[in-house]
Subunit: 645 residues, 2 copies
């Protein structure tokens, strides 16, 4: 199956989608709690002391990393504080759509003023290199996140301008990008470089779309095209800087996906977030330029990631050592890194793969990552965070109030805040519904003003009702995703049964009609609990099964089931009953019959020839993304499969 490439679908803007139900509650948490926490923690970390030119240049707060192969004094996470502030601004911008917060907005405006004052006459604007290491700018793109910080500031500027109408940061960043465009490029006297941490590529696409500046888009394409070519920029840069290129902590340029030109890459490697941001930028450029060479490479990478390197939750990047990928089917559960940011990044990439048309391969995975691997990173009340997202815990893994590398809290906050933009795609005469959820979206299609309202308590209930509001009748195609997990869907249009067969290979029902105001569509997506089997080569999961319902991965948690979860075995989920859990926001829990191999009848011996006795019991499973919101304890996704399953 290859991607649809004949259409150009763009997401609605954030302002055009109002969320209710499940996502409404989550956005309220972000707007009421998370964004203020993000700001406060940035302040508490001392970040503004670094940014504000009117304050004395502060002492180093986070020491330079000293590790094997790292030259002492090269890198500190403090170098990318601009990105933490930027994501905080971006998340706050999205929160503004939900709830104005003049006090917080004033604080953000003050931060933006600092950046305006920080900006150098030539446009350069990075707090680390202006204030902490002046004279060192553009000397180590490989390690020091300089263009990455610019990228996040660009995203923040676009979002804040859209949300508040205030363009001050946008203007600052345009001037900065104008400067960057003089420094980097293929021309004489320019640096043919790119960032060790991808991000600016996708940010420049956003900036270009916001400003209409094609040169920004071209700069994004330049960074993507230059990546991994020979002579290798990071080698040359190191030599220029008096460093040995081999003196690289991560040893291989696979770490930052610069080991090969991007169109020649066939395997998802290295740091997971970097990979996702690169592929997101590639997908944007592929859509903008109709570049099939990029789409071909992305298809191969997509299959590698989702077919061989992805957790059931849409978590990716199993290893802490490189915060990234290792080998096919290496997906350990209890030590999973599976950074929240990486699942957010997977959602970014998947969303952009939908830019060329509806395809449930991408939307199903986007839904998987959003509802499971990503959303787990934010507590129910929006106040605490996961950085790593293991699929099993012996009881020692708990949410953080903050992290020394605080990338994940604002990243999950900005994803939740912007969730409406992931739900839809709009083309000239088509609307695609990628994600379901109570919401009202305003879009223009076939020249008409469409208000599309979803009702139905998704993801808890099985029927999604879509109501069409139109200022005048219009002929367009409504693409409705039938998730692979749903099996056979049911469909009614204006109360009448209609075949619910997906069109071609897309996995979307394509309803092309003359639509009128008040039309309604009811989509029934069966949501019985289902037993999931892992690929036999996933060593960590062999002989195990997991439970899903709808888009949600379920887990057993100590709070419901006590300790020693791995004594449980499961053969089927036919006997599952559902229950709403008030303290988890009314989430649907599954109560499942299981067998427990207890040690009750076990003698003194540690090893015997007598098999353990099993007793039957019922164990409660809750949505994975809601774990660790109650009393701390164990957690288990992959349960041992009982005989005969």
């Amino acid at each position: 199956m290859s991607s649809p490439r004949n259409q150009s679908f763009r997401p609605p803007s954030i302002a055009d989608v109002d969320l209710g139900g499940f996502w409404g509650d989550r956005i309220d948490a972000v707007a009421n709690k998370t964004v203020r926490i993000l700001y406060d923690r940035c302040v508490a970390a001392g970040m503004l002391d670094q940014v504000d030119p009117s304050r004395p240049v502060p002492d180093l707060r986070i020491p330079f990393m000293v590790k094997d192969g790292f030259t002492a004094g090269t890198v500190t996470t403090q170098m990318f504080w601009d990105s933490d502030i930027a994501k905080t601004i971006e998340a706050t911008a999205y929160a503004v759509y939900r709830k104005r917060d003049p006090e917080l907005e004033a604080l953000i405006d003050a931060v933006i003023d600092m950046y305006a004052r920080l900006q150098q006459p030539d446009g350069y604007c990075n707090s680390w290199y202006v204030r902490m290491q002046p004279g060192r700018r553009w000397t180590n793109l490989r390690d020091c996140h300089e263009l990455y910080c610019a990228g996040h500031m660009i995203e923040a500027a676009v979002a804040y301008a859209q949300a508040t109408g205030k363009r001050k940061l946008l203007d600052v960043m345009c001037r900065y990008v104008d400067h960057i465009a003089t420094v980097f490029g293929p021309g004489e006297g320019q640096l043919p470089g790119y960032c060790g941490h991808e991000e600016i590529e996708l940010a420049l696409v956003r900036l270009s779309r916001e400003t209409g500046r094609q040169d920004y888009m071209d700069l994004a394409k330049f960074f993507i095209d230059a990546r991994g070519t020979q002579p290798h920029y990071f080698d040359e840069e190191a030599h220029r800087d008096g460093r040995n290129p081999k003196d690289f902590h991560f040893r291989t340029y696979e770490y930052n996906q610069s080991h090969l030109p991007v169109r020649e890459q066939r395997t998802v490697v290295g740091h997971a977030v970097r990979a996702m941001y690169l592929y997101s930028g590639m997908a944007d450029i592929a859509a903008e330029y109709g570049d099939d060479t990029l789409t071909d490479a992305l298809e191969i990478l997509w299959d590698d990631l989702t077919g061989r390197q992805m957790y059931l939750t849409g978590g990716i990047g199993p290893a802490a050592s490189n915060e990234g990928f290792t080998a096919a089917y290496d997906l350990p559960n209890d030590t999973a890194y599976a950074e929240t940011c990486a699942s957010v990044g997977l959602a970014f990439w998947a969303a952009r793969m939908l830019g060329r048309g509806p395809d449930r391969r991408f939307a199903d995975t986007m839904e998987r990552a959003i509802y499971n691997g990503a959303l787990a990173g934010l507590s129910q009340d929006g106040s605490t965070f996961f950085y790593e997202n293991p699929l099993e815990s012996r009881g020692g893994h708990h949410r953080w109030e903050w992290h020394h590398c605080p990338c994940c809290p604002p990243n999950i906050a900005r994803m939740v805040g912007a969730i409406g933009t992931y739900m839809y795609g709009v083309a000239d005469t088509a609307v695609a519904v990628h994600l379901y959820g109570e919401s009202t979206a305003r879009m223009t299609v076939a020249g008409a003003a469409l208000t599309l309202t979803q009702a139905g308590d998704y993801p808890w209930a099985e029927t999604v009702t879509l109501t069409i509001g139109l200022d005048r009748p219009a002929t367009f195609t409504l693409h409705l995703r039938v998730p692979d997990w749903a099996g056979k869907a049911g469909l009614k249009v204006n109360g009448t049964d209609v075949p619910a067969d997906p069109a071609g290979n897309t996995g979307y029902i394509a309803l092309t009609r003359d639509w009128a105001d008040g039309d309604s569509v009811a989509l029934h997506l069966p949501m019985q609990a289902r037993l999931i089997h892992p690929h036999p080569r996933i060593r960590a999961d062999t002989g195990r099964v997991a439970v899903m319902r709808g888009p949600l991965v379920y887990c057993a948690e100590g709070a419901d089931n006590g300790a020693d979860l791995d004594l449980m075995t499961m053969a089927a989920v036919d006997g599952a009953t559902t229950a709403r859990v008030p303290e988890l926001g009314g989430a649907v829990a599954l109560d499942l019959p299981v067998a427990l191999e207890t040690d009750a009848a076990w003698g003194k011996s540690i090893y015997t020839t007598t098999p353990p006795k099993a007793e039957t019991a019922v164990r409660r499973f809750i949505p994975y993304h809601l774990w660790d919101n109650r009393d701390p304890g164990e957690m288990l996704v992959w349960v041992r499969r009982a005989g005969g399953a």
Copy 2:
């Protein structure tokens, strides 16, 4: 069940047991190959440069360890080179009984001459503190292995004197111990200390038994009694030496079993080898002094170790961080530390628990540790070694030619070389056969000279035949262990069936008769393959089974079965067939019907609702101790249990 305490059984001396069959081959490998390798590697490491006073004081070869909490410059493994040399001397001494090697003996004699010249006028004799850090002796017993080195030198001295009749090293060590006895003790002006790494306790018992010196035995008892008492010696010592006692890399005195007085210890904790050596010394002292308070403590510790903290192989100490114990039932397979030395130490302890009479709890575990966790540490040809002994390998674990901390090679060599001493226990009117194996043992019992000959190809064949040789008829009890694994044994005396019921709780058949020259006993020990189930609380083994036959744990290895061993599931071993494997010394392999969950019929999805297809196959299992003697590959002991097992 409590230990028998009413008898005193001592092992035969090495010279009194000649081995054939299985152990004969292993001892030949040690005598022909291993002991020379040990000597050569000690020389190559530069150890003799440190010992020989006629050479210049060498530079440091192994840097001081610098770790969190360790003061730089406190510890290097080079501090315990004396122990590596000592174990090499001891192993060589045992090899001498098998095969004289005048050339190697001359080299060892030269080393002994070095120690004689190294010895100080006051008797002190430790190469590190005489040559490398003069003036620092007895300043850091906690970390620096000073008395530990003395202990190994004592064992070497006793063994070498017994094997060769040369008493030079024994005299050196007696003078050293005389000096130690002036330094340490409860008296005025003496240090109430003991070593951070136990060993000298059991060594002093050996020295006392060899020399008849009761004061050596009393010194051993002093070290045991002083351990862990308050005020804590290691605190006081640190203060005297200007160190902060809290500045201890391993944080807790549990690491060296000095957290409590030994009689108050209830849980096996800390560094595994240290624990085993301590308990061995305690068992010796319990037997020598009839000290039930020690035996009571040892019983509790024994149950904790063998009931909650021991691998199926008799491997112990799962963690690399402390080379030791963690928590009950924490027995990970692929990351198991399970140091060869620790299983050797468990055999030492178990053997000493038999000093108060036959009890198969101890002998069964001794056999388990010797044949599996310990013997795995030595390659079939005696030339390469395992330090860690995991019960599962993905293909990356292989034998070493040497190790930076080369404790295991000489330790397994000295265990194999002295294996005859573990096989029997002799009391005034009783002989206990603890281990079976082709051998001829000469013992004195009831005033008669007994020659006990075992035949029968143990551990491969089921029937052990014991032939009694006597210089005159004698009445004594022959205790024959019926291993727990054998279930119901069969017994014939002089060809006539005799009840094979173990006496009381001992697990040993007690044959009290008037024995005459030429009497024969045939013991039949059923050896069908059996499926072993782990305690349900061993998290790493849940839902898994292992295969044993006789005393041997079996494993599947890549060399026979290819990769992806964990795709295999097993329900029973009834269909097992046996085969002798010539390239593994004629070992009995088990060919077992299994199910394989292959990915042959698996689609592109990484997760699906369709269970994997299983096909039937036959997989070969070999004795665990023989793994990694052929082509490198995966290895697996605990196999997934198929449904219904």
